[in-house]
Symmetry: C2
Subunit: 419 residues, 2 copies
């Protein structure tokens, strides 16, 4: 079993040193390493489940609620799924070494822009222990060391998972310091991570809007902001009845807790009489509580009155805000005001309206006639998802392994000097 | 003449509104706009030079020093050069709309990742009024609005330049609020810019290391860090005499004040007797003061003793630190410790050493047998340079117009929902 450094600073320094070794491993070696990590997780299944039982017991004592308990829970099946996910990451193409640009200067100096690992990736996240394994395996596949700070609710599970992964690296002859946890330092661990400029190259927060807001505001390490989704579907005047209904129901009901679920539906006034009665009935049948403006409520008395707060809410539940708007311009203005710039979709048969929506909505993913639930690394074919970036710097939308790399210019000359 | 909003917040909001219009302009329109801006600068030349005279007079009263006065100075020739630079930017390819990725999901949903403007680009910089025009024109070419905060020493020059550019937009029927200055609010203007999350999409500081450090530390708006260069050249055991001498001299002497000038030369012990006598003599002849370790000083008594501080210094002058190292490993360790990860170069005839240097040095630009002075957007063929990024997120190394864009995923479907 690997020894764990006593101080946060020491762990960060050790991670930075280990990052140099990980960055130079070739693709096959990194894959083999991940397979070894997956095997180790499988072998330690009983131990992981036992550690998780401690977290669950504490969670019950602290009355954290059934839905959090469920996200926290690891049983033998879930541990096997964790290991399988690591094996899937092992098979993904290596994002490191891709040549992204090539230029030869007039004097013969040959330049290449290549993808390189960041170095050390930090992550601050909440109660789900699967994120521990998820982020660690994605970081390793992309040649990075990783420093993890998970939620205190999952502390025993995370400690065991980190130890199992570190031991697996060690057994493979690779520096185990490439995987670090600072969970045991509580908030001080998170703070150290956020201020570790020069030691941590990028920080990816995953979790609630307030966690992400804290990290974005307090961190001096560059952050990739993920997450919050106040997602809109606009049903245009020419929206097909079946597409309007199917897309809204899918976007709201299929998995309401996720960030790509729709939270507000805007309906063109000219289509309200045609679309709303059936749509509202279908939503009610599916158990959705609709929070509507007056024009919406006129169509169905099960609709509750929306307040201004509803337009800005990411419900994450079977609740949906619905508003009737005069036209595309009013829809665009509403989206500009309330969207978190994650995903918006228009349902329309009007090409000009579709084109304007695509051009003018300033969100990571803008769709025409499709469910907002497609904003997902797996759906996009990335094979894995680091998160969904809602910022504009570096990465926007679903992030795959490529987004865990930076670049470097390499130049090969024969004595060139600048004139 | 366009009216200027009274409060910082109002200016930022107006810039954000104007950004929507600028983002949708096509390439030809943006070029025409920039040509109009260039013409307006030419026409206002006398007025700009007069405003600049006020700044120069205040600078002399404040005794800011000859080198700052020179950077501040605008005469008719320099104003014409400013206008010419804007015309050159007008001719650069439009970075907006490039299709960066295309995917069709198995269900037929067609996805495109396209380059889009950031929205509002902020810049905080020091006394050079040419940066005002430079950043504004690069921002417009890439479809962005811009909020500028220049140094107080150039306040009159900047105010006139901003007014001339705003009036030119206005005369072209484009919202002049796309170009804003917050110079008149002093430090409060800078602070407002650094905390304008949601209004400003990216902040590019340009200037001294301390200015950049302040912006990186205090800003909640995402920052692209530019600048500081403690740049190294390593002369390996097999370095050719002529390349070693030419590259070091070019990298130090050609323009010592810039960030890609070399600050420390590391010499392999096995090459020291062969290379150092002539190299040190050439450096002395060129007026360079060498700060050396004992092994270097043994070769030339004009070499002054280096202190530990010298290894971390970005001189920006005709000073150079020189150290003899045992081997490539010691050179790499020195660079790891002291480099600002801007540019490093190895001079070697040994392919294995070159490959290790390229792979292991973690800097924006890593060169073999070439002067570090090539780290430059113009030299790289970008046609313009926004700055040289020394961070790993979003942009690394010389930044061209492409680095002033973000991306957006567009998806066109026909009723797809997620299974």
């Amino acid at each position: 079993m690997t020894v764990i450094a006593a101080s946060v600073d020491e762990r960060l320094r050790l991670a930075k040193d280990a990052a140099r070794e990980i960055a130079l491993l070739d693709s096959a070696r990194k894959s083999a390493l991940l397979v070894a990590v997956a095997d180790a997780i499988d072998e330690a299944s009983a131990e992981i489940v036992a550690a998780n039982a401690d977290d669950l017991e504490r969670g019950r004592t602290d009355a954290i609620g059934e839905s959090l308990l469920d996200r926290l829970r690891l049983d033998a099946g879930r541990v096997a799924a964790l290991a399988a996910a690591v094996r899937a990451v092992a098979e993904l193409p290596d994002p490191v070494g891709r040549v992204l640009d090539t230029r030869t200067l007039p004097n013969g100096l040959a330049l290449q822009k290549v993808a390189v690992p960041f170095g050390v990736v930090g992550s601050i996240y909440e109660a789900r222990p699967n994120v521990t394994v998820d982020i660690a395996s994605l970081a390793l596949r992309s040649g990075n060391a990783v420093v993890l700070r998970g939620g205190s609710a999952a502390q025993s599970s995370n400690a065991t998972l980190v130890r199992v992964m570190r031991d697996a690296l060690s057994a493979q002859g690779v520096d185990p310091e490439a995987i670090q946890s600072v969970d045991d330092f509580g908030r001080d661990g998170a703070r150290a991570l956020m201020n570790a400029r020069g030691l941590v190259d990028v920080l990816v927060p995953r979790g609630s809007a307030s966690l992400i807001e804290t990290v974005v505001t307090e961190s001096t390490v560059p952050v990739i902001e993920t997450g919050a989704g106040v997602v809109h579907v606009f049903l245009d005047a020419t929206a097909r009845d079946d597409w309007a209904r199917d897309i809204v129901l899918n976007a709201k009901v299929q998995r309401p807790s996720v960030c790509n679920a729709v939270e507000t539906v805007l309906v063109h006034r000219d289509a309200a009489d045609r679309l709303l009665p059936e749509l509202l009935a279908s939503l009610s049948d599916a158990g959705v509580t609709v929070h509507g403006d007056d024009a919406t409520r006129a169509h169905d008395d099960r609709v509750v009155a929306a307040t201004d707060d509803d337009w800005a809410r990411e419900y994450g539940t079977l609740d949906l805000a619905v508003r009737v708007v005069d036209d595309l311009d009013e829809a665009l203005a509403h989206i500009r005001r309330y969207s978190t710039q994650h995903t918006e979709s228009i349902v329309t048969a009007d090409q000009a309206a579709a084109d304007r929506f695509l051009a003018e909505v300033d969100s990571a993913v803008v769709l025409v006639n499709a469910s907002t639930r497609f904003t997902d690394g797996g759906e996009f074919g990335f094979g894995a998802e680091v998160g969904i970036s809602t910022q504009k710097l570096h990465a926007r939308g679903p992030m795959g392994l490529a987004e865990l790399t930076s670049t470097k210019w390499l130049g090969r000359g024969d004595g060139q000097v600048r004139a």
